[in-house]
């Protein structure tokens, strides 16, 4: 099985340049539903699910490989190679911002521009560095994920995705989007929140746009500003949008900022 099937890749649009959308922890490619359509007339858009999320192949989950963000970045590079991407735009939400930064360094020339929405290179505080969380709080999160049942019937998701003309099928299920295998979700949470990619950002020289929300407790303003200072060829745009998912809560603002950049 190739990366296209494994990562449930969907390609739309006919533009000469490609734009790859990578979802963050807790969701799947559905989270681009208000942003991706805005670019489909000018770009070839590529949406996919990380292994363990959405319609990806759960059998492809390999504990060892996905014990660091590098494993996820390898998948992005494989997808890029299979699609023959060059000089593409990579749009990463949350943890996928770092996955994009790693992928851009693994495959020089594949990505010509990066868009990072709510990025954080390290969530746990470290000396002078402010990440916003203590290690204990992340441990609390991992324990908490055990008591949330979302995704326990993950195999139902593709059935719904395969019937877009029958939305009533979706109504029978409690939560039909962003289902993840609970064990994989927990492992992904650990990898995400324990990662430290500060040194990788310093090596990055791809032009990068950082979209920083107001009032984002996952990736707060000082973290966004750190990312901006660390990536030498980067600019930061402060959004009015609140929370951690402006691609869902304020898609117009996100699209406008991206257009100016690309």
């Amino acid at each position: 099985m190739g990366a296209i099937e494994r990562n449930n890749v969907h390609v739309r649009g006919t533009g000469g340049q490609s734009m790859v959308f990578a979802h963050g922890f807790g969701c799947d490619q559905n989270m681009w539903r208000f942003v991706e359509p805005a670019f489909v007339s000018e770009f070839k858009t590529v949406c996919f699910d990380h292994v363990g999320a959405g319609g990806s192949d759960l059998k492809a989950y390999d504990k060892e490989k996905y014990s660091s963000l590098a494993g996820y970045a390898d998948d992005v590079v494989e997808i890029g190679r299979e699609l023959g991407l060059a000089d593409a735009v990579f749009v990463g939400h949350s943890v996928s911002s770092m996955i994009g930064a790693l992928a851009a360094q693994k495959a020089p020339g594949m990505f010509g521009k990066l868009v990072m929405i709510g990025p954080s290179p390290r969530y746990v505080d470290d000396g002078d560095y402010f990440g916003g969380f203590t290690e204990g709080q992340i441990g609390e999160l991992l324990q908490f994920l055990d008591s949330n049942h979302m995704g326990w019937s993950v195999q139902m998701a593709p059935a719904i995705m395969g019937n877009p003309d029958r939305p009533e099928l979706g109504q029978e299920l409690t939560n039909s989007f962003c289902r993840t295998d609970p064990d994989i979700a927990k492992a992904f949470a650990r990898v995400t929140f324990m990662s430290d990619n500060r040194a990788d950002l310093a090596k990055l020289d791809v032009p990068t746009l950082i979209l920083q929300c107001s009032d984002d407790i996952i990736a707060s303003r000082p973290v966004g500003e750190f990312v901006n200072r660390t990536i030498r060829n980067s600019e930061i745009v402060f959004l009015k949008a609140t929370g951690h998912c402006p691609n869902l809560s304020a898609p117009d603002e996100v699209v406008a900022a991206m257009r100016t950049f690309v």
Partner: protein, 367 residues
């Protein structure tokens, strides 16, 4: 005269048996009901205008931002999620909640309503279940490792036992060529008998270990070659190894039997060996092999004490050993392996035992 509060919607909201919270699209609290204020210990003035996240524990905040908020935007609702608030005193307020998003005509978010129910007990129960699951998983894994090691050990042991046995057998044959005295012949015959019995025991041990290791009993079926000569040979060997005992055999095999002939030989050897050990020594063991009624039937019968009622249910379990004199004591695998061979042939192995006769019957369908 009905109480006016029955139809009072304000009262229904404020004093509902669940907590209500209304959020603005920016995640800030617009309204809370009295039930929540009673549970959490804050005033409405303190809560309204603050972020909902401000009243969650850190795990709840992350979960809210990464799961609940995005799902509400995508599907407009999110049901049955666990969320932990923090009381004014700093204690946990564990809840289960449903959320609905109010939208304008264009699908934009206007507000979010949450209904929350206390779930302290339920959460404790879930926690216990999770712990029990983890313990069970750990135990299962260590059990599996131990049993795998044990069975691999048996398999290796069985294999290593065969080599010296082959040497003894070859040595006995060489000596047999030059044997002169009756005593020498007797000792060599005894050696060969012992080697045969030992080889049978090792076969059973290996089959048992293989079965447990997941390979199961494998068959090499062949209906073109006749079965009867194989049965003859096995029974002749058993006669040689049990001088003084009678084994009566009767054959009525009229059609080809699609079976693994050496496995059926092993089955007969195990059953007859069992009958010789447990049956009355002054009465014959009776073997009958026949094709009839669309079945291949093979029965082995002996006289003597019937099998005790209590033992009947466990006869085919591995390592089950009945009362028998020590010299004939086996491993307790013979009947178990025989039953496995029967099963591999889509057949059955049944037993009946009365004061007149104990009879094991193997039946398999003719195809």
């Amino acid at each position: 005269m009905t109480d006016p509060r029955i139809d009072d919607f304000e009262d229904m909201f404020e004093n509902a048996p669940c907590a209500y919270i209304t959020l603005l699209p920016n995640g800030r609290i617009e309204r809370v009901n009295k039930t929540l204020l009673g549970w959490i210990g804050h005033t409405a003035e303190h809560m309204v205008g603050k972020r909902f996240s401000d009243f969650l524990n850190m795990a709840g905040r992350i979960y809210f931002e990464t799961h609940i908020a995005p799902l509400l935007r995508m599907q407009g609702f999110y049901d049955e999620f666990a969320i932990d608030m923090v009381t004014a005193a700093g204690g946990p307020l564990q809840m289960i909640a449903n959320a609905r998003e109010g939208r304008d005509a264009a699908g934009g978010a206007l507000f979010t309503r949450l209904a929350l129910i206390k779930a302290t007990d339920r959460r404790r129960y879930e926690h216990e279940l999770l712990q029990a699951r983890d313990v069970a998983k750990t135990n299962l894994e260590s059990e599996r490792e131990t049993s795998e090691l044990r069975e691999q050990f048996i398999a290796v042991l069985g294999h290593d036992l065969r080599n010296p046995l082959a040497s003894i057998s070859a040595g006995a044959r060489i000596l047999g060529r030059d044997a002169k005295s009756d005593k020498e012949h007797q000792v060599i015959a005894m050696l060969e008998t012992t080697v045969l019995r030992m080889a049978g025991l090792i076969d059973n041990v290996l089959d048992f270990a293989r079965g447990r290791l997941g390979g199961g009993i494998t068959l090499d079926r062949n209906s073109r070659r006749p079965l009867e000569p194989v049965l003859h040979q096995v029974i002749d060997e058993l006669r040689l190894s049990s001088p003084g005992r009678r084994i009566e055999a009767e054959y009525a095999i009229d059609v080809p039997v699609d079976c693994d002939r050496s496995r059926i030989g092993q089955l007969v050897s195990n059953l007859v060996g069992n009958a010789l050990s447990h049956g009355a020594s002054n009465e014959p063991v009776r073997v009958r092999a026949a094709t009839e009624d669309g079945l291949f039937r093979l029965s082995v019968a002996n006289s003597g004490e019937p099998i005790p009622e209590a033992a009947m249910g466990r006869l085919f379990e591995p390592f089950f050993r009945g009362e028998v004199r020590a010299s004939r004591q086996g491993l307790g695998l013979g009947l178990h392996i025989a039953a496995q061979i029967a099963k591999a042939h889509d057949g059955t192995l049944d037993v009946s035992s009365t004061s007149e006769e104990t009879r094991f019957t193997f039946s398999m369908p003719l195809r």
